[in-house]
Subunit: 263 residues, 2 copies
Protein backbone atom coordinates (compact mmCIF):
# COMPACT_ATOMS: atom_id res chain seq x y z
CA UNK A 1 0.00 0.00 0.00
CA UNK A 2 1.10 3.56 -0.63
CA UNK A 3 1.67 6.07 2.14
CA UNK A 4 -1.43 6.42 4.31
CA UNK A 5 0.06 9.62 5.63
CA UNK A 6 0.52 9.92 9.36
CA UNK A 7 -2.40 7.95 10.70
CA UNK A 8 -1.87 7.04 14.33
CA UNK A 9 -1.79 3.33 14.87
CA UNK A 10 -3.95 3.76 17.93
CA UNK A 11 -6.73 5.23 15.88
CA UNK A 12 -6.66 2.31 13.47
CA UNK A 13 -6.78 -0.09 16.41
CA UNK A 14 -9.72 1.72 17.94
CA UNK A 15 -11.63 1.67 14.70
CA UNK A 16 -10.83 -1.99 14.26
CA UNK A 17 -12.40 -2.80 17.59
CA UNK A 18 -15.48 -1.00 16.33
CA UNK A 19 -15.62 -3.57 13.56
CA UNK A 20 -13.78 -1.84 10.71
CA UNK A 21 -10.97 -3.38 8.69
CA UNK A 22 -7.78 -1.45 8.08
CA UNK A 23 -8.98 -0.39 4.63
CA UNK A 24 -12.36 0.68 5.87
CA UNK A 25 -10.71 2.78 8.54
CA UNK A 26 -8.28 4.38 6.10
CA UNK A 27 -10.99 5.19 3.59
CA UNK A 28 -13.27 6.69 6.20
CA UNK A 29 -10.47 8.77 7.65
CA UNK A 30 -9.46 9.96 4.21
CA UNK A 31 -13.03 10.77 3.35
CA UNK A 32 -13.35 12.97 6.41
CA UNK A 33 -10.94 15.45 4.88
CA UNK A 34 -12.81 15.71 1.60
CA UNK A 35 -16.22 16.62 0.37
CA UNK A 36 -17.90 14.75 -2.41
CA UNK A 37 -14.85 12.83 -3.51
CA UNK A 38 -14.75 10.35 -6.38
CA UNK A 39 -13.52 6.81 -5.85
CA UNK A 40 -10.21 7.71 -7.44
CA UNK A 41 -9.75 10.69 -5.13
CA UNK A 42 -10.52 8.45 -2.20
CA UNK A 43 -7.88 6.05 -3.47
CA UNK A 44 -5.34 8.84 -3.70
CA UNK A 45 -5.77 10.32 -0.25
CA UNK A 46 -6.35 7.07 1.60
CA UNK A 47 -3.56 5.07 0.00
CA UNK A 48 -5.90 2.14 -0.54
CA UNK A 49 -5.52 0.48 -3.97
CA UNK A 50 -8.06 1.88 -6.38
CA UNK A 51 -9.64 -1.47 -7.18
CA UNK A 52 -10.12 -2.16 -3.48
CA UNK A 53 -11.75 1.17 -2.85
CA UNK A 54 -15.06 0.19 -4.43
CA UNK A 55 -15.95 -2.81 -2.25
CA UNK A 56 -14.68 -0.95 0.79
CA UNK A 57 -16.92 2.02 0.05
CA UNK A 58 -19.85 -0.33 -0.43
CA UNK A 59 -19.32 -1.78 3.01
CA UNK A 60 -18.94 1.66 4.54
CA UNK A 61 -22.25 2.70 3.03
CA UNK A 62 -23.85 -0.41 4.53
CA UNK A 63 -22.36 0.50 7.88
CA UNK A 64 -23.83 3.99 7.57
CA UNK A 65 -20.49 5.74 7.61
CA UNK A 66 -20.62 7.30 4.15
CA UNK A 67 -23.27 8.54 1.75
CA UNK A 68 -23.23 8.26 -2.04
CA UNK A 69 -24.29 10.69 -4.72
CA UNK A 70 -26.28 9.70 -7.78
CA UNK A 71 -23.96 11.32 -10.30
CA UNK A 72 -21.56 9.59 -12.62
CA UNK A 73 -18.99 9.17 -11.49
CA UNK A 74 -20.36 8.48 -8.05
CA UNK A 75 -19.21 10.80 -5.33
CA UNK A 76 -18.81 9.89 -1.70
CA UNK A 77 -19.09 11.81 1.52
CA UNK A 78 -18.33 10.86 5.07
CA UNK A 79 -20.98 10.95 7.75
CA UNK A 80 -19.61 13.23 10.49
CA UNK A 81 -17.62 11.29 13.10
CA UNK A 82 -20.04 11.82 15.95
CA UNK A 83 -22.97 10.49 14.02
CA UNK A 84 -20.91 7.79 12.31
CA UNK A 85 -19.50 6.34 15.49
CA UNK A 86 -22.91 6.43 17.05
CA UNK A 87 -24.14 4.37 14.11
CA UNK A 88 -21.42 1.80 14.68
CA UNK A 89 -22.05 1.68 18.40
CA UNK A 90 -25.75 1.14 17.89
CA UNK A 91 -25.04 -2.08 16.05
CA UNK A 92 -22.53 -3.24 18.59
CA UNK A 93 -24.85 -2.51 21.48
CA UNK A 94 -27.57 -4.49 19.80
CA UNK A 95 -25.20 -7.41 19.50
CA UNK A 96 -24.17 -7.02 23.12
CA UNK A 97 -27.78 -7.05 24.21
CA UNK A 98 -28.76 -10.13 22.27
CA UNK A 99 -25.57 -11.89 23.32
CA UNK A 100 -26.28 -11.15 26.95
CA UNK A 101 -29.78 -12.53 26.64
CA UNK A 102 -28.60 -15.72 25.00
CA UNK A 103 -25.70 -16.23 27.38
CA UNK A 104 -27.81 -15.57 30.44
CA UNK A 105 -30.11 -18.36 29.41
CA UNK A 106 -27.20 -20.78 29.14
CA UNK A 107 -25.74 -19.53 32.37
CA UNK A 108 -28.89 -20.15 34.34
CA UNK A 109 -29.00 -23.76 33.21
CA UNK A 110 -25.76 -24.40 35.02
CA UNK A 111 -26.03 -26.83 37.88
CA UNK A 112 -25.53 -24.71 40.97
CA UNK A 113 -22.02 -25.22 42.25
CA UNK A 114 -21.83 -28.93 41.71
CA UNK A 115 -18.24 -29.56 42.69
CA UNK A 116 -16.48 -28.30 45.77
CA UNK A 117 -15.07 -25.12 44.30
CA UNK A 118 -14.42 -24.06 47.87
CA UNK A 119 -10.92 -25.44 47.93
CA UNK A 120 -9.70 -23.29 45.10
CA UNK A 121 -7.96 -19.96 45.10
CA UNK A 122 -9.13 -17.74 42.29
CA UNK A 123 -7.40 -14.89 40.59
CA UNK A 124 -9.64 -12.07 39.50
CA UNK A 125 -8.45 -9.40 37.12
CA UNK A 126 -9.91 -5.95 36.71
CA UNK A 127 -11.33 -3.53 39.19
CA UNK A 128 -14.92 -4.09 38.12
CA UNK A 129 -14.68 -7.82 38.62
CA UNK A 130 -13.07 -7.45 42.00
CA UNK A 131 -15.71 -5.02 43.13
CA UNK A 132 -18.43 -7.36 41.91
CA UNK A 133 -16.96 -10.21 43.91
CA UNK A 134 -16.54 -8.05 47.00
CA UNK A 135 -20.14 -6.93 46.72
CA UNK A 136 -21.20 -10.57 46.60
CA UNK A 137 -19.14 -11.36 49.68
CA UNK A 138 -20.61 -8.49 51.67
CA UNK A 139 -24.09 -9.40 50.57
CA UNK A 140 -23.65 -12.93 51.87
CA UNK A 141 -22.25 -11.84 55.23
CA UNK A 142 -24.19 -13.21 58.19
CA UNK A 143 -22.05 -12.46 61.21
CA UNK A 144 -18.91 -10.52 60.58
CA UNK A 145 -16.95 -8.54 58.00
CA UNK A 146 -13.33 -7.64 58.65
CA UNK A 147 -10.98 -5.65 56.50
CA UNK A 148 -7.54 -4.15 56.51
CA UNK A 149 -7.48 -1.66 53.71
CA UNK A 150 -5.70 1.47 52.54
CA UNK A 151 -7.73 4.59 53.05
CA UNK A 152 -7.93 5.62 49.37
CA UNK A 153 -9.05 2.19 48.28
CA UNK A 154 -11.60 2.10 51.07
CA UNK A 155 -13.16 5.41 50.19
CA UNK A 156 -13.12 5.05 46.42
CA UNK A 157 -14.15 1.47 45.97
CA UNK A 158 -15.18 -0.33 49.10
CA UNK A 159 -17.32 1.87 51.30
CA UNK A 160 -20.22 2.02 48.88
CA UNK A 161 -20.37 -1.76 48.72
CA UNK A 162 -20.96 -2.00 52.48
CA UNK A 163 -24.32 -0.29 52.12
CA UNK A 164 -26.46 -3.45 52.01
CA UNK A 165 -24.80 -5.12 54.99
CA UNK A 166 -27.41 -5.48 57.75
CA UNK A 167 -26.89 -4.06 61.24
CA UNK A 168 -26.69 -7.53 62.71
CA UNK A 169 -23.35 -8.02 61.02
CA UNK A 170 -20.33 -6.65 62.83
CA UNK A 171 -17.99 -4.71 60.54
CA UNK A 172 -14.38 -4.13 61.59
CA UNK A 173 -12.21 -1.82 59.54
CA UNK A 174 -8.54 -1.10 59.97
CA UNK A 175 -7.18 1.65 57.76
CA UNK A 176 -4.38 4.22 57.84
CA UNK A 177 -6.29 7.44 58.38
CA UNK A 178 -9.87 8.51 58.82
CA UNK A 179 -11.08 12.03 58.20
CA UNK A 180 -14.28 13.15 59.83
CA UNK A 181 -16.20 11.56 62.65
CA UNK A 182 -16.29 7.85 63.38
CA UNK A 183 -19.28 6.18 61.83
CA UNK A 184 -21.29 4.37 64.47
CA UNK A 185 -22.18 1.72 61.99
CA UNK A 186 -18.63 0.32 61.72
CA UNK A 187 -15.80 -0.22 64.16
CA UNK A 188 -13.02 1.77 62.55
CA UNK A 189 -9.49 1.66 63.84
CA UNK A 190 -6.77 3.74 62.23
CA UNK A 191 -3.12 2.91 62.03
CA UNK A 192 -0.19 3.95 59.84
CA UNK A 193 -0.12 0.76 57.85
CA UNK A 194 3.22 1.46 56.26
CA UNK A 195 4.86 1.11 59.67
CA UNK A 196 3.65 -2.40 60.20
CA UNK A 197 6.69 -4.67 60.17
CA UNK A 198 6.81 -6.62 56.95
CA UNK A 199 8.50 -9.50 58.62
CA UNK A 200 9.97 -11.56 55.85
CA UNK A 201 10.12 -8.90 53.17
CA UNK A 202 13.34 -7.16 52.16
CA UNK A 203 13.14 -3.43 52.92
CA UNK A 204 11.55 -1.33 50.18
CA UNK A 205 10.00 -4.37 48.65
CA UNK A 206 7.37 -4.92 51.27
CA UNK A 207 3.76 -5.23 50.27
CA UNK A 208 2.58 -1.83 49.17
CA UNK A 209 -0.45 -0.91 51.17
CA UNK A 210 -1.24 2.03 48.92
CA UNK A 211 -3.97 0.35 46.95
CA UNK A 212 -4.28 -2.97 48.59
CA UNK A 213 -6.62 -4.55 51.07
CA UNK A 214 -7.49 -7.76 52.83
CA UNK A 215 -11.09 -8.80 53.39
CA UNK A 216 -12.60 -11.58 55.43
CA UNK A 217 -16.27 -12.47 55.73
CA UNK A 218 -17.68 -14.81 58.39
CA UNK A 219 -14.27 -16.45 58.76
CA UNK A 220 -15.17 -18.35 55.63
CA UNK A 221 -14.46 -16.24 52.55
CA UNK A 222 -11.35 -14.17 51.97
CA UNK A 223 -10.28 -11.71 49.31
CA UNK A 224 -6.87 -10.12 48.90
CA UNK A 225 -6.88 -7.01 46.72
CA UNK A 226 -3.52 -6.36 45.08
CA UNK A 227 -3.50 -2.98 43.42
CA UNK A 228 -0.36 -2.82 41.35
CA UNK A 229 0.01 0.93 40.91
CA UNK A 230 -0.98 2.08 37.45
CA UNK A 231 -1.49 -1.45 36.24
CA UNK A 232 -4.71 -3.36 36.13
CA UNK A 233 -5.48 -4.50 39.66
CA UNK A 234 -5.92 -8.16 40.53
CA UNK A 235 -7.18 -10.06 43.53
CA UNK A 236 -7.16 -13.48 45.11
CA UNK A 237 -10.42 -14.92 46.31
CA UNK A 238 -10.89 -18.13 48.18
CA UNK A 239 -13.09 -20.13 50.47
CA UNK A 240 -10.31 -22.61 51.11
CA UNK A 241 -9.45 -23.29 54.72
CA UNK A 242 -5.79 -22.61 54.02
CA UNK A 243 -6.04 -19.10 52.68
CA UNK A 244 -8.81 -18.17 55.08
CA UNK A 245 -6.66 -19.26 58.00
CA UNK A 246 -3.71 -17.30 56.71
CA UNK A 247 -5.80 -14.16 56.36
CA UNK A 248 -7.33 -14.78 59.76
CA UNK A 249 -3.88 -14.83 61.38
CA UNK A 250 -2.69 -11.82 59.45
CA UNK A 251 -5.69 -9.78 60.57
CA UNK A 252 -5.21 -10.97 64.14
CA UNK A 253 -1.62 -9.89 64.29
CA UNK A 254 -2.34 -6.51 62.76
CA UNK A 255 -5.18 -5.98 65.20
CA UNK A 256 -2.93 -6.82 68.11
CA UNK A 257 -0.29 -4.46 66.83
CA UNK A 258 -2.80 -1.67 66.51
CA UNK A 259 -4.10 -2.30 69.99
CA UNK A 260 -0.62 -2.40 71.44
CA UNK A 261 0.26 0.85 69.68
CA UNK A 262 -2.10 2.27 72.19
CA UNK A 263 -4.89 3.80 70.21
Amino acid sequence: MKAPRDISNDLLESLRSLGLTKYEALVYIGLLRMTGATATEVHETSGVPRASVYPVLDRLVQKELVSVSHTTPKRFDAIPPGQGIENLMRRIENDAESARTALDRLYREKRPEARGSQELIWTIYGEENIRARLAGMFLSAERRVEMLVAQNLLREHVLALLEPVPDSVRVDIVTDTWKGEQPSRFRVRTHPLGAYPETHAPPGKGLRHESSGVFLVDDARALVWMGSSGEQPSALYSESAGLVQFVRRYLNSVTEWVAAAGQ
Copy 2:
Protein backbone atom coordinates in the same frame (compact mmCIF):
# COMPACT_ATOMS: atom_id res chain seq x y z
CA MET B 1 -13.05 -28.95 15.13
CA LYS B 2 -15.25 -31.38 16.97
CA ALA B 3 -18.93 -30.80 17.60
CA PRO B 4 -19.48 -27.43 19.28
CA ARG B 5 -22.95 -28.63 20.16
CA ASP B 6 -25.87 -26.48 19.15
CA ILE B 7 -24.44 -23.00 19.37
CA SER B 8 -26.50 -20.53 17.40
CA ASN B 9 -24.57 -18.86 14.65
CA ASP B 10 -26.12 -15.54 15.58
CA LEU B 11 -24.60 -15.72 19.02
CA LEU B 12 -21.15 -16.38 17.61
CA GLU B 13 -21.59 -13.43 15.25
CA SER B 14 -22.67 -11.16 18.08
CA LEU B 15 -19.71 -12.15 20.19
CA ARG B 16 -17.40 -11.65 17.25
CA SER B 17 -18.57 -8.08 16.88
CA LEU B 18 -17.68 -7.63 20.53
CA GLY B 19 -14.13 -8.54 19.61
CA LEU B 20 -14.00 -12.25 20.31
CA THR B 21 -12.71 -14.88 17.89
CA LYS B 22 -14.71 -18.01 17.22
CA TYR B 23 -12.59 -19.99 19.66
CA GLU B 24 -12.84 -17.37 22.36
CA ALA B 25 -16.60 -17.36 21.98
CA LEU B 26 -16.87 -21.14 22.10
CA VAL B 27 -14.66 -21.44 25.14
CA TYR B 28 -16.50 -18.74 27.02
CA ILE B 29 -19.86 -20.26 26.18
CA GLY B 30 -18.68 -23.68 27.23
CA LEU B 31 -17.24 -22.32 30.42
CA LEU B 32 -20.58 -20.77 31.35
CA ARG B 33 -22.00 -24.23 31.84
CA MET B 34 -19.25 -25.40 34.17
CA THR B 35 -17.71 -24.42 37.43
CA GLY B 36 -14.01 -24.58 38.00
CA ALA B 37 -13.21 -26.57 34.90
CA THR B 38 -9.74 -27.72 33.90
CA ALA B 39 -8.31 -26.88 30.51
CA THR B 40 -9.05 -30.38 29.30
CA GLU B 41 -12.65 -30.17 30.41
CA VAL B 42 -12.95 -26.87 28.61
CA HIS B 43 -11.56 -28.53 25.52
CA GLU B 44 -14.13 -31.30 25.78
CA THR B 45 -17.23 -29.21 26.17
CA SER B 46 -16.23 -26.40 23.83
CA GLY B 47 -14.93 -28.56 21.00
CA VAL B 48 -11.83 -26.39 20.70
CA PRO B 49 -8.59 -28.36 20.21
CA ARG B 50 -6.90 -28.90 23.53
CA ALA B 51 -3.65 -27.25 22.51
CA SER B 52 -5.53 -24.17 21.38
CA VAL B 53 -7.47 -23.91 24.59
CA TYR B 54 -4.53 -22.56 26.57
CA PRO B 55 -3.78 -19.42 24.56
CA VAL B 56 -7.49 -18.81 24.16
CA LEU B 57 -8.03 -18.96 27.91
CA ASP B 58 -5.11 -16.60 28.40
CA ARG B 59 -6.74 -14.06 26.13
CA LEU B 60 -10.09 -14.48 27.84
CA VAL B 61 -8.46 -13.80 31.19
CA GLN B 62 -6.92 -10.65 29.73
CA LYS B 63 -10.31 -9.60 28.46
CA GLU B 64 -11.75 -10.13 31.94
CA LEU B 65 -14.15 -12.85 30.89
CA VAL B 66 -12.73 -15.69 32.97
CA SER B 67 -10.88 -16.08 36.23
CA VAL B 68 -8.15 -18.62 37.02
CA SER B 69 -7.46 -20.64 40.11
CA HIS B 70 -4.02 -21.10 41.58
CA THR B 71 -4.20 -24.85 41.80
CA THR B 72 -2.43 -27.38 39.62
CA PRO B 73 -3.91 -28.10 37.31
CA LYS B 74 -5.30 -24.64 36.85
CA ARG B 75 -9.04 -24.34 36.95
CA PHE B 76 -11.08 -21.78 35.08
CA ASP B 77 -14.37 -20.10 35.72
CA ALA B 78 -16.48 -17.78 33.61
CA ILE B 79 -17.33 -14.31 34.75
CA PRO B 80 -21.15 -14.12 34.68
CA PRO B 81 -22.46 -12.91 31.30
CA GLY B 82 -23.81 -9.60 32.54
CA GLN B 83 -20.55 -8.60 34.10
CA GLY B 84 -18.48 -10.10 31.31
CA ILE B 85 -20.24 -8.31 28.51
CA GLU B 86 -20.07 -5.11 30.45
CA ASN B 87 -16.31 -5.60 30.65
CA LEU B 88 -16.11 -6.02 26.89
CA MET B 89 -18.30 -3.03 26.25
CA ARG B 90 -16.21 -0.84 28.51
CA ARG B 91 -13.20 -1.41 26.31
CA ILE B 92 -15.14 -0.84 23.16
CA GLU B 93 -16.68 2.34 24.44
CA ASN B 94 -13.25 3.62 25.37
CA ASP B 95 -12.09 2.95 21.85
CA ALA B 96 -15.17 4.65 20.47
CA GLU B 97 -14.54 7.69 22.59
CA SER B 98 -10.90 8.08 21.66
CA ALA B 99 -11.70 7.42 18.02
CA ARG B 100 -14.34 10.11 18.04
CA THR B 101 -11.94 12.59 19.55
CA ALA B 102 -9.25 11.85 17.00
CA LEU B 103 -11.63 11.83 14.05
CA ASP B 104 -13.31 15.04 15.14
CA ARG B 105 -9.98 16.78 15.04
CA LEU B 106 -9.36 15.61 11.49
CA TYR B 107 -12.88 16.48 10.51
CA ARG B 108 -12.61 20.03 11.69
CA GLU B 109 -9.50 20.60 9.61
CA LYS B 110 -11.53 20.03 6.48
CA ARG B 111 -11.80 23.07 4.24
CA PRO B 112 -15.42 24.08 4.55
CA GLU B 113 -17.30 22.93 1.46
CA ALA B 114 -14.61 23.74 -1.05
CA ARG B 115 -16.26 22.46 -4.18
CA GLY B 116 -19.78 22.99 -5.33
CA SER B 117 -21.35 19.96 -3.71
CA GLN B 118 -24.65 21.65 -4.36
CA GLU B 119 -25.14 19.98 -7.70
CA LEU B 120 -25.09 16.48 -6.32
CA ILE B 121 -27.87 14.21 -5.22
CA TRP B 122 -26.96 12.23 -2.16
CA THR B 123 -28.29 8.93 -0.93
CA ILE B 124 -28.52 8.61 2.81
CA TYR B 125 -29.05 5.25 4.48
CA GLY B 126 -30.40 4.65 7.93
CA GLU B 127 -33.08 6.41 9.89
CA GLU B 128 -30.66 8.11 12.23
CA ASN B 129 -28.71 9.63 9.39
CA ILE B 130 -31.83 10.82 7.64
CA ARG B 131 -33.14 12.41 10.80
CA ALA B 132 -29.82 14.11 11.37
CA ARG B 133 -29.91 15.59 7.89
CA LEU B 134 -33.51 16.68 8.26
CA ALA B 135 -32.68 18.35 11.54
CA GLY B 136 -29.89 20.22 9.81
CA MET B 137 -32.23 21.35 7.05
CA PHE B 138 -34.83 22.63 9.47
CA LEU B 139 -32.21 24.39 11.50
CA SER B 140 -31.01 26.27 8.46
CA ALA B 141 -34.50 27.32 7.35
CA GLU B 142 -34.87 31.06 6.93
CA ARG B 143 -38.19 31.55 5.19
CA ARG B 144 -40.19 28.42 4.55
CA VAL B 145 -40.45 24.71 5.27
CA GLU B 146 -42.82 22.55 3.23
CA MET B 147 -43.51 18.89 3.57
CA LEU B 148 -45.77 16.20 2.25
CA VAL B 149 -45.49 13.35 4.67
CA ALA B 150 -47.37 10.30 5.91
CA GLN B 151 -48.96 10.82 9.28
CA ASN B 152 -47.07 8.06 11.11
CA LEU B 153 -43.72 9.20 9.82
CA LEU B 154 -44.58 12.78 10.75
CA ARG B 155 -45.51 11.98 14.31
CA GLU B 156 -42.77 9.49 15.03
CA HIS B 157 -39.80 11.07 13.41
CA VAL B 158 -40.37 14.53 12.05
CA LEU B 159 -42.44 16.63 14.41
CA ALA B 160 -39.81 16.72 17.13
CA LEU B 161 -37.25 18.04 14.70
CA LEU B 162 -39.38 21.09 13.92
CA GLU B 163 -38.95 22.35 17.45
CA PRO B 164 -36.07 24.74 16.80
CA VAL B 165 -37.64 26.37 13.72
CA PRO B 166 -38.30 30.04 14.53
CA ASP B 167 -41.75 31.63 14.20
CA SER B 168 -40.61 33.74 11.31
CA VAL B 169 -40.41 30.64 9.17
CA ARG B 170 -43.63 29.48 7.56
CA VAL B 171 -44.20 25.76 7.90
CA ASP B 172 -46.62 23.99 5.57
CA ILE B 173 -47.54 20.39 6.21
CA VAL B 174 -49.67 18.14 4.08
CA THR B 175 -50.46 14.77 5.62
CA ASP B 176 -53.21 12.16 5.47
CA THR B 177 -54.92 12.58 8.81
CA TRP B 178 -54.56 14.78 11.85
CA LYS B 179 -55.94 13.85 15.21
CA GLY B 180 -56.55 16.55 17.73
CA GLU B 181 -56.69 20.28 17.23
CA GLN B 182 -54.80 22.14 14.57
CA PRO B 183 -51.56 23.58 15.87
CA SER B 184 -51.45 27.32 15.29
CA ARG B 185 -47.74 27.13 14.76
CA PHE B 186 -47.98 25.20 11.46
CA ARG B 187 -50.33 25.28 8.52
CA VAL B 188 -51.57 21.72 8.41
CA ARG B 189 -53.68 20.44 5.59
CA THR B 190 -54.96 16.88 5.59
CA HIS B 191 -55.69 14.75 2.60
CA PRO B 192 -56.01 11.00 1.94
CA LEU B 193 -52.65 10.71 0.23
CA GLY B 194 -53.32 7.26 -1.13
CA ALA B 195 -56.00 8.71 -3.38
CA TYR B 196 -53.66 11.09 -5.12
CA PRO B 197 -53.32 9.88 -8.72
CA GLU B 198 -49.93 8.25 -9.20
CA THR B 199 -49.86 9.23 -12.82
CA HIS B 200 -47.28 7.05 -14.42
CA ALA B 201 -47.29 4.21 -11.91
CA PRO B 202 -49.00 0.88 -12.50
CA PRO B 203 -51.76 0.25 -10.00
CA GLY B 204 -50.63 -1.27 -6.72
CA LYS B 205 -47.07 -0.33 -7.42
CA GLY B 206 -47.46 3.36 -6.88
CA LEU B 207 -45.22 5.10 -4.42
CA ARG B 208 -46.24 3.92 -0.98
CA HIS B 209 -46.93 6.91 1.15
CA GLU B 210 -46.97 4.80 4.28
CA SER B 211 -43.55 5.75 5.50
CA SER B 212 -42.43 8.25 2.97
CA GLY B 213 -42.20 11.99 2.82
CA VAL B 214 -41.01 14.91 0.74
CA PHE B 215 -39.36 17.92 2.33
CA LEU B 216 -38.38 21.30 0.91
CA VAL B 217 -36.67 24.13 2.72
CA ASP B 218 -36.42 27.67 1.37
CA ASP B 219 -36.92 26.40 -2.17
CA ALA B 220 -33.27 25.45 -2.01
CA ARG B 221 -32.79 22.13 -0.23
CA ALA B 222 -34.91 19.03 -0.78
CA LEU B 223 -35.09 15.65 0.87
CA VAL B 224 -37.10 12.64 -0.25
CA TRP B 225 -37.62 10.03 2.47
CA MET B 226 -38.20 6.56 1.07
CA GLY B 227 -39.26 4.22 3.81
CA SER B 228 -39.17 0.75 2.38
CA SER B 229 -41.37 -1.11 4.81
CA GLY B 230 -39.42 -3.25 7.20
CA GLU B 231 -36.17 -2.55 5.45
CA GLN B 232 -33.64 0.07 6.37
CA PRO B 233 -34.99 3.41 5.12
CA SER B 234 -33.08 5.58 2.70
CA ALA B 235 -33.42 9.11 1.45
CA LEU B 236 -32.30 11.41 -1.33
CA TYR B 237 -30.96 14.81 -0.41
CA SER B 238 -30.01 17.55 -2.80
CA GLU B 239 -29.44 21.22 -3.27
CA SER B 240 -29.34 20.80 -7.03
CA ALA B 241 -31.66 23.02 -9.07
CA GLY B 242 -32.98 19.97 -10.88
CA LEU B 243 -34.24 17.96 -7.96
CA VAL B 244 -35.39 21.03 -6.07
CA GLN B 245 -37.46 22.09 -9.05
CA PHE B 246 -38.95 18.62 -9.36
CA VAL B 247 -39.95 18.57 -5.72
CA ARG B 248 -41.25 22.13 -6.02
CA ARG B 249 -43.60 21.10 -8.82
CA TYR B 250 -44.67 17.95 -7.06
CA LEU B 251 -45.61 19.87 -3.94
CA ASN B 252 -47.42 22.46 -6.02
CA SER B 253 -49.57 19.93 -7.79
CA VAL B 254 -50.43 18.11 -4.58
CA THR B 255 -51.32 21.39 -2.92
CA GLU B 256 -53.60 22.31 -5.82
CA TRP B 257 -55.25 18.91 -5.66
CA VAL B 258 -55.85 19.28 -1.97
CA ALA B 259 -57.29 22.73 -2.43
CA ALA B 260 -59.55 21.58 -5.28
CA ALA B 261 -60.75 18.65 -3.15
CA GLY B 262 -62.47 21.38 -1.27
CA GLN B 263 -61.09 21.16 2.21
